[in-house]
Protein backbone atom coordinates (compact mmCIF):
# COMPACT_ATOMS: atom_id res chain seq x y z
CA UNK A 1 0.00 0.00 0.00
CA UNK A 2 1.49 3.24 -1.08
CA UNK A 3 0.98 6.13 1.28
CA UNK A 4 -0.19 9.55 0.19
CA UNK A 5 3.30 10.81 0.98
CA UNK A 6 4.61 8.41 -1.64
CA UNK A 7 2.25 9.87 -4.17
CA UNK A 8 3.47 13.36 -3.35
CA UNK A 9 7.07 12.37 -3.93
CA UNK A 10 6.74 12.69 -7.70
CA UNK A 11 5.93 16.35 -7.57
CA UNK A 12 8.82 18.49 -8.66
CA UNK A 13 8.70 20.87 -5.76
CA UNK A 14 8.17 20.48 -2.12
CA UNK A 15 8.08 22.16 1.23
CA UNK A 16 11.75 23.02 1.44
CA UNK A 17 11.34 26.45 -0.10
CA UNK A 18 14.02 28.59 -1.64
CA UNK A 19 16.67 30.04 0.56
CA UNK A 20 18.29 33.32 -0.36
CA UNK A 21 21.54 33.01 -2.17
CA UNK A 22 24.82 34.08 -0.71
CA UNK A 23 25.43 37.68 -1.52
CA UNK A 24 21.84 38.79 -1.14
CA UNK A 25 21.63 37.84 2.49
CA UNK A 26 20.29 40.77 4.48
CA UNK A 27 22.36 41.35 7.59
CA UNK A 28 20.44 43.86 9.53
CA UNK A 29 19.05 44.37 12.95
CA UNK A 30 16.35 41.88 13.85
CA UNK A 31 14.83 44.48 16.10
CA UNK A 32 15.68 47.89 17.33
CA UNK A 33 17.65 46.89 20.40
CA UNK A 34 19.42 43.77 19.24
CA UNK A 35 22.83 43.70 17.65
CA UNK A 36 23.14 43.03 13.93
CA UNK A 37 21.99 39.52 12.99
CA UNK A 38 21.60 37.56 9.81
CA UNK A 39 17.83 37.52 9.32
CA UNK A 40 17.98 34.46 7.10
CA UNK A 41 19.15 32.41 10.06
CA UNK A 42 15.99 33.24 12.01
CA UNK A 43 12.99 30.95 12.01
CA UNK A 44 9.59 32.20 10.87
CA UNK A 45 8.48 33.09 14.39
CA UNK A 46 11.53 35.25 15.00
CA UNK A 47 11.10 36.92 11.62
CA UNK A 48 7.50 37.75 12.44
CA UNK A 49 8.56 39.22 15.79
CA UNK A 50 11.28 41.25 14.07
CA UNK A 51 8.74 42.58 11.59
CA UNK A 52 6.28 43.37 14.34
CA UNK A 53 9.11 45.23 16.06
CA UNK A 54 9.42 47.46 13.00
CA UNK A 55 12.01 45.63 10.91
CA UNK A 56 10.86 45.83 7.32
CA UNK A 57 13.70 43.66 6.04
CA UNK A 58 12.29 40.70 7.95
CA UNK A 59 9.38 40.66 5.54
CA UNK A 60 11.73 40.41 2.56
CA UNK A 61 13.13 37.23 4.06
CA UNK A 62 9.63 35.90 4.63
CA UNK A 63 8.82 36.55 0.97
CA UNK A 64 11.96 34.78 -0.20
CA UNK A 65 11.24 31.83 2.05
CA UNK A 66 7.57 31.34 1.09
CA UNK A 67 7.17 32.84 -2.37
CA UNK A 68 7.55 29.55 -4.19
CA UNK A 69 4.86 27.69 -2.26
CA UNK A 70 2.49 30.64 -2.42
CA UNK A 71 3.06 31.10 -6.13
CA UNK A 72 2.45 27.41 -6.87
CA UNK A 73 -0.72 27.40 -4.79
CA UNK A 74 -2.00 30.31 -6.87
CA UNK A 75 -0.77 28.68 -10.04
CA UNK A 76 -2.87 25.60 -9.32
CA UNK A 77 -5.94 27.79 -9.06
CA UNK A 78 -5.53 29.97 -12.12
CA UNK A 79 -3.25 27.93 -14.37
CA UNK A 80 -1.44 30.77 -16.04
CA UNK A 81 1.75 32.40 -14.91
CA UNK A 82 0.70 36.03 -15.09
CA UNK A 83 -2.45 35.60 -13.02
CA UNK A 84 -0.65 33.36 -10.53
CA UNK A 85 2.09 35.93 -10.19
CA UNK A 86 -0.44 38.71 -9.56
CA UNK A 87 -2.34 36.61 -7.04
CA UNK A 88 0.82 35.60 -5.20
CA UNK A 89 1.83 39.26 -5.01
CA UNK A 90 -1.61 40.09 -3.64
CA UNK A 91 -1.18 37.38 -1.01
CA UNK A 92 2.08 38.93 0.21
CA UNK A 93 0.72 42.46 0.16
CA UNK A 94 -2.18 41.31 2.33
CA UNK A 95 0.24 39.44 4.55
CA UNK A 96 2.32 42.60 4.94
CA UNK A 97 -0.74 44.53 6.03
CA UNK A 98 -1.94 41.83 8.39
CA UNK A 99 1.30 40.54 9.87
CA UNK A 100 1.14 42.94 12.81
CA UNK A 101 -1.96 41.09 13.95
CA UNK A 102 -0.50 37.62 13.38
CA UNK A 103 -0.52 35.87 16.75
CA UNK A 104 1.37 32.75 15.77
CA UNK A 105 -1.47 30.36 16.57
CA UNK A 106 -0.76 28.62 13.28
CA UNK A 107 2.49 28.41 11.38
CA UNK A 108 3.34 31.30 9.10
CA UNK A 109 3.08 28.98 6.07
CA UNK A 110 -0.42 27.91 7.05
CA UNK A 111 -1.40 31.53 7.62
CA UNK A 112 -0.09 32.45 4.16
CA UNK A 113 -1.96 29.51 2.63
CA UNK A 114 -5.12 30.74 4.28
CA UNK A 115 -4.66 34.15 2.69
CA UNK A 116 -3.75 32.45 -0.57
CA UNK A 117 -6.84 30.25 -0.65
CA UNK A 118 -9.07 33.23 0.11
CA UNK A 119 -7.45 35.37 -2.55
CA UNK A 120 -7.63 32.60 -5.13
CA UNK A 121 -11.20 31.57 -4.37
CA UNK A 122 -12.27 35.21 -4.59
CA UNK A 123 -10.56 35.53 -7.93
CA UNK A 124 -12.03 32.29 -9.24
CA UNK A 125 -15.47 33.40 -8.09
CA UNK A 126 -15.08 36.72 -9.92
CA UNK A 127 -13.59 35.32 -13.07
CA UNK A 128 -14.32 31.90 -14.48
CA UNK A 129 -11.09 30.02 -15.14
CA UNK A 130 -9.88 30.06 -18.67
CA UNK A 131 -10.40 26.91 -20.68
CA UNK A 132 -7.84 24.20 -20.25
CA UNK A 133 -4.65 24.74 -22.16
CA UNK A 134 -5.34 21.94 -24.59
CA UNK A 135 -2.40 22.87 -26.71
CA UNK A 136 0.00 22.36 -23.84
CA UNK A 137 1.59 19.35 -25.55
CA UNK A 138 1.25 20.57 -29.11
CA UNK A 139 4.98 20.94 -29.62
CA UNK A 140 5.77 17.35 -28.72
CA UNK A 141 7.15 15.31 -31.61
CA UNK A 142 4.63 12.49 -32.06
CA UNK A 143 6.88 10.42 -34.35
CA UNK A 144 8.64 8.46 -31.57
CA UNK A 145 7.05 6.15 -28.98
CA UNK A 146 8.47 8.27 -26.15
CA UNK A 147 6.97 11.37 -27.65
CA UNK A 148 3.62 9.61 -28.06
CA UNK A 149 3.75 8.56 -24.45
CA UNK A 150 4.55 12.13 -23.44
CA UNK A 151 1.69 13.39 -25.54
CA UNK A 152 -0.77 10.99 -23.90
CA UNK A 153 0.61 11.79 -20.47
CA UNK A 154 0.29 15.48 -21.20
CA UNK A 155 -3.28 15.05 -22.39
CA UNK A 156 -4.17 13.07 -19.28
CA UNK A 157 -2.59 15.74 -17.09
CA UNK A 158 -4.63 18.40 -18.84
CA UNK A 159 -7.78 16.32 -18.28
CA UNK A 160 -6.95 15.84 -14.60
CA UNK A 161 -6.25 19.53 -14.17
CA UNK A 162 -9.49 20.46 -15.94
CA UNK A 163 -11.39 18.09 -13.65
CA UNK A 164 -9.77 19.61 -10.56
CA UNK A 165 -10.88 23.04 -11.71
CA UNK A 166 -14.46 21.88 -11.78
CA UNK A 167 -14.46 20.73 -8.16
CA UNK A 168 -16.45 22.75 -5.63
CA UNK A 169 -14.24 25.45 -4.02
CA UNK A 170 -13.70 23.80 -0.62
CA UNK A 171 -12.95 20.42 -2.17
CA UNK A 172 -10.60 22.01 -4.64
CA UNK A 173 -8.76 23.96 -1.96
CA UNK A 174 -8.52 20.88 0.23
CA UNK A 175 -7.16 18.75 -2.60
CA UNK A 176 -4.60 21.36 -3.59
CA UNK A 177 -3.35 21.96 -0.06
CA UNK A 178 -3.15 18.23 0.62
CA UNK A 179 -1.71 16.96 -2.65
CA UNK A 180 0.40 19.85 -3.90
CA UNK A 181 1.30 21.82 -0.78
CA UNK A 182 1.64 18.66 1.31
CA UNK A 183 -0.25 20.17 4.23
CA UNK A 184 -1.47 17.96 7.03
CA UNK A 185 -5.21 17.69 7.62
CA UNK A 186 -4.78 19.87 10.71
CA UNK A 187 -2.98 22.57 8.72
CA UNK A 188 -5.67 22.49 6.05
CA UNK A 189 -8.35 22.80 8.72
CA UNK A 190 -6.57 25.89 10.07
CA UNK A 191 -6.06 27.34 6.61
CA UNK A 192 -9.68 26.85 5.62
CA UNK A 193 -11.18 27.69 9.00
CA UNK A 194 -12.66 24.22 9.17
CA UNK A 195 -12.40 21.02 11.20
CA UNK A 196 -10.18 18.03 10.57
CA UNK A 197 -13.26 15.86 10.07
CA UNK A 198 -14.66 18.24 7.47
CA UNK A 199 -11.28 18.39 5.74
CA UNK A 200 -11.11 14.61 5.48
CA UNK A 201 -14.68 14.43 4.21
CA UNK A 202 -13.93 17.14 1.63
CA UNK A 203 -10.80 15.32 0.55
CA UNK A 204 -12.69 12.05 0.18
CA UNK A 205 -15.45 13.67 -1.86
CA UNK A 206 -12.91 15.60 -3.95
CA UNK A 207 -11.23 12.34 -4.93
CA UNK A 208 -14.59 10.72 -5.62
CA UNK A 209 -15.74 13.60 -7.82
CA UNK A 210 -12.40 13.69 -9.60
CA UNK A 211 -12.61 9.98 -10.31
CA UNK A 212 -16.12 10.34 -11.69
CA UNK A 213 -15.16 13.25 -13.97
CA UNK A 214 -12.08 11.45 -15.25
CA UNK A 215 -14.13 8.36 -16.08
CA UNK A 216 -16.54 10.39 -18.19
CA UNK A 217 -13.88 12.52 -19.88
Amino acid sequence: MRSAAGVFANTTWGRDGVRPRTGMTPKVRASGAEPSVDLTTLDDGALVRAFQGGNRDAFDVIVVRHRRQVYHLCRRFVRNHEDASDLAQDVFVRAFKGLQRFKGDASLATWLYRIGVNVCLNRVAQKRPESAELDAAADVDARTPDALHELLRGERAVAVQAAIEKLPPKQKATLMLRVYQECTHEEIATALGSTVGAVKANFFHALGNLRRMLKTS
Binding site: M1, R2, S3, A4, A5, V7, F8, N10, T11, T12, W13, V18, M24, F51, Q52, G53, G54, N55, R56, F59, D60, V63, V64, R67, R68, Y71, H72, R75, R76, H81, S85, A88, Q89, F92, V93, F96, K97, Q100, R156, A157, V160, Q161, I164, L175, V179, Y180, H185, G197, K200, A201, F203, F204, H205, L207, G208, L210, R211, L214
Partner: protein
Amino acid sequence: MTKHLSPEEFVDALDGAPPASAAHLAECAECREEFVSLQVTLGEAGGVEADEPSPLFWDHFSARVKQATADESVGTSWSWGRFAWKPAVALMAAAGALAIGFYMRPAVEPGASLAGRVQPATELASAAVPAFEDDGSWSLVTALASELDWNELSQAAAPSDGTADAMIEELTSEQRETLARLLQKEIGDL
Protein backbone atom coordinates in the same frame (compact mmCIF):
# COMPACT_ATOMS: atom_id res chain seq x y z
CA MET B 1 -19.39 -7.43 6.76
CA THR B 2 -21.99 -4.70 6.63
CA LYS B 3 -20.24 -1.68 8.14
CA HIS B 4 -17.94 -0.22 5.54
CA LEU B 5 -15.19 2.32 6.06
CA SER B 6 -16.27 5.93 6.55
CA PRO B 7 -14.86 8.74 4.38
CA GLU B 8 -12.51 9.70 7.21
CA GLU B 9 -11.30 6.13 7.52
CA PHE B 10 -10.66 5.95 3.80
CA VAL B 11 -8.60 9.14 3.99
CA ASP B 12 -6.69 7.80 6.97
CA ALA B 13 -6.11 4.61 5.01
CA LEU B 14 -4.70 6.63 2.10
CA ASP B 15 -2.27 8.25 4.53
CA GLY B 16 -1.20 4.83 5.75
CA ALA B 17 -3.95 2.59 6.96
CA PRO B 18 -4.36 2.22 10.70
CA PRO B 19 -4.57 -1.46 11.78
CA ALA B 20 -8.37 -1.48 12.09
CA SER B 21 -8.88 -0.14 8.57
CA ALA B 22 -6.23 -2.44 7.16
CA ALA B 23 -7.97 -5.42 8.67
CA HIS B 24 -11.29 -4.33 7.22
CA LEU B 25 -9.78 -3.71 3.79
CA ALA B 26 -8.30 -7.19 3.82
CA GLU B 27 -11.74 -8.69 4.41
CA CYS B 28 -14.10 -6.35 2.50
CA ALA B 29 -13.79 -6.48 -1.29
CA GLU B 30 -16.11 -3.52 -1.77
CA CYS B 31 -14.08 -1.21 0.45
CA ARG B 32 -10.85 -2.54 -1.02
CA GLU B 33 -12.06 -1.71 -4.51
CA GLU B 34 -13.08 1.77 -3.41
CA PHE B 35 -9.75 2.28 -1.68
CA VAL B 36 -7.71 1.21 -4.71
CA SER B 37 -9.81 3.44 -6.93
CA LEU B 38 -9.25 6.43 -4.65
CA GLN B 39 -5.56 5.64 -4.53
CA VAL B 40 -5.32 5.64 -8.32
CA THR B 41 -7.17 8.96 -8.52
CA LEU B 42 -4.89 10.46 -5.89
CA GLY B 43 -1.90 9.24 -7.87
CA GLU B 44 -3.23 10.89 -11.01
CA ALA B 45 -3.88 14.16 -9.22
CA GLY B 46 -0.43 14.09 -7.66
CA GLY B 47 1.14 13.32 -11.03
CA VAL B 48 0.14 16.67 -12.50
CA GLU B 49 3.35 18.59 -12.34
CA ALA B 50 3.47 22.29 -11.80
CA ASP B 51 5.05 24.45 -14.44
CA GLU B 52 8.12 25.98 -12.94
CA PRO B 53 8.70 29.63 -13.80
CA SER B 54 12.06 30.93 -14.89
CA PRO B 55 14.67 31.05 -12.11
CA LEU B 56 14.92 34.77 -12.81
CA PHE B 57 11.29 35.17 -11.89
CA TRP B 58 11.79 34.82 -8.14
CA ASP B 59 13.99 37.86 -7.62
CA HIS B 60 11.71 39.82 -9.91
CA PHE B 61 8.75 38.69 -7.84
CA SER B 62 10.39 39.74 -4.57
CA ALA B 63 11.14 43.14 -6.09
CA ARG B 64 7.49 43.49 -7.13
CA VAL B 65 6.27 42.66 -3.65
CA LYS B 66 8.75 45.11 -2.15
CA GLN B 67 7.57 47.83 -4.48
CA ALA B 68 3.92 47.05 -3.79
CA THR B 69 4.47 47.32 -0.05
CA ALA B 70 6.81 50.30 -0.20
CA ASP B 71 4.09 52.77 0.70
CA GLU B 72 2.77 50.66 3.53
CA SER B 73 4.01 51.44 7.00
CA VAL B 74 5.35 48.55 9.03
CA GLY B 75 3.98 49.92 12.30
CA THR B 76 4.83 48.24 15.54
CA SER B 77 2.88 46.18 17.97
CA TRP B 78 1.71 48.54 20.70
CA SER B 79 2.33 47.31 24.18
CA TRP B 80 1.50 48.81 27.52
CA GLY B 81 4.88 47.79 28.88
CA ARG B 82 6.72 50.12 26.54
CA PHE B 83 5.10 53.27 27.85
CA ALA B 84 3.78 52.32 31.25
CA TRP B 85 6.86 53.76 33.00
CA LYS B 86 6.11 57.30 31.83
CA PRO B 87 3.00 57.96 33.91
CA ALA B 88 4.68 56.21 36.80
CA VAL B 89 7.68 58.55 36.60
CA ALA B 90 5.40 61.58 36.24
CA LEU B 91 3.46 60.45 39.29
CA MET B 92 6.66 59.95 41.25
CA ALA B 93 7.90 63.40 40.23
CA ALA B 94 4.63 64.98 41.29
CA ALA B 95 4.79 63.15 44.61
CA GLY B 96 8.38 64.30 45.00
CA ALA B 97 7.41 67.93 44.40
CA LEU B 98 4.66 67.58 46.98
CA ALA B 99 7.09 66.04 49.44
CA ILE B 100 9.64 68.81 48.94
CA GLY B 101 6.90 71.40 49.33
CA PHE B 102 5.73 69.68 52.48
CA TYR B 103 9.20 69.71 54.05
CA MET B 104 9.90 73.32 53.06
CA ARG B 105 6.61 74.74 54.36
CA PRO B 106 6.96 77.38 57.10
CA ALA B 107 6.71 76.01 60.59
CA VAL B 108 3.41 76.89 62.25
CA GLU B 109 2.79 76.51 65.92
CA PRO B 110 -0.26 74.41 66.62
CA GLY B 111 -3.16 76.49 67.81
CA ALA B 112 -1.99 79.69 66.17
CA SER B 113 -4.91 81.44 64.55
CA LEU B 114 -5.03 82.28 60.87
CA ALA B 115 -5.47 85.92 61.68
CA GLY B 116 -2.30 85.90 63.70
CA ARG B 117 -0.39 84.35 60.84
CA VAL B 118 -1.51 86.72 58.08
CA GLN B 119 0.44 89.89 57.80
CA PRO B 120 -1.29 93.03 56.60
CA ALA B 121 -0.78 93.51 52.89
CA THR B 122 1.03 96.76 53.27
CA GLU B 123 3.49 95.23 55.71
CA LEU B 124 4.02 92.28 53.41
CA ALA B 125 4.67 94.54 50.43
CA SER B 126 7.17 96.66 52.26
CA ALA B 127 8.90 93.62 53.73
CA ALA B 128 8.99 91.57 50.54
CA VAL B 129 10.07 94.28 48.14
CA PRO B 130 13.12 96.02 49.38
CA ALA B 131 13.83 99.40 48.04
CA PHE B 132 16.19 99.32 45.07
CA GLU B 133 17.33 101.51 42.34
CA ASP B 134 16.14 100.52 38.89
CA ASP B 135 19.05 100.40 36.48
CA GLY B 136 16.62 99.98 33.58
CA SER B 137 16.46 96.17 33.54
CA TRP B 138 13.43 96.00 35.79
CA SER B 139 11.63 98.52 33.60
CA LEU B 140 12.46 96.40 30.55
CA VAL B 141 11.10 93.22 32.16
CA THR B 142 7.89 94.88 33.32
CA ALA B 143 7.41 96.48 29.91
CA LEU B 144 7.79 93.13 28.16
CA ALA B 145 5.58 91.36 30.64
CA SER B 146 2.84 93.91 30.23
CA GLU B 147 2.59 93.03 26.53
CA LEU B 148 2.07 89.32 27.24
CA ASP B 149 -1.40 87.87 27.16
CA TRP B 150 -2.25 85.87 30.28
CA ASN B 151 -3.19 82.76 28.24
CA GLU B 152 0.09 82.84 26.36
CA LEU B 153 1.97 83.26 29.58
CA SER B 154 0.19 80.36 31.27
CA GLN B 155 0.75 78.15 28.22
CA ALA B 156 4.44 78.99 28.21
CA ALA B 157 4.80 78.37 31.89
CA ALA B 158 2.61 75.28 32.14
CA PRO B 159 4.53 71.99 32.26
CA SER B 160 4.16 70.06 29.06
CA ASP B 161 4.06 66.30 28.59
CA GLY B 162 7.41 64.85 29.42
CA THR B 163 8.54 67.76 31.57
CA ALA B 164 8.75 65.53 34.60
CA ASP B 165 10.72 62.98 32.61
CA ALA B 166 13.10 65.66 31.44
CA MET B 167 13.54 66.98 34.96
CA ILE B 168 14.35 63.53 36.26
CA GLU B 169 16.85 63.06 33.45
CA GLU B 170 18.66 66.23 34.48
CA LEU B 171 19.03 65.24 38.12
CA THR B 172 22.39 64.00 39.34
CA SER B 173 22.53 60.53 40.81
CA GLU B 174 22.80 62.08 44.27
CA GLN B 175 19.71 64.18 43.67
CA ARG B 176 17.85 61.16 42.35
CA GLU B 177 18.76 59.20 45.45
CA THR B 178 17.44 62.03 47.61
CA LEU B 179 14.26 62.20 45.55
CA ALA B 180 13.79 58.46 45.80
CA ARG B 181 14.36 58.59 49.56
CA LEU B 182 11.81 61.38 49.95
CA LEU B 183 9.31 59.54 47.77
CA GLN B 184 9.84 56.35 49.69
CA LYS B 185 9.24 58.22 52.92
CA GLU B 186 6.09 59.85 51.56
CA ILE B 187 4.72 56.61 50.20
CA GLY B 188 5.53 54.90 53.45
CA ASP B 189 3.70 57.61 55.36
CA LEU B 190 0.54 57.25 53.26
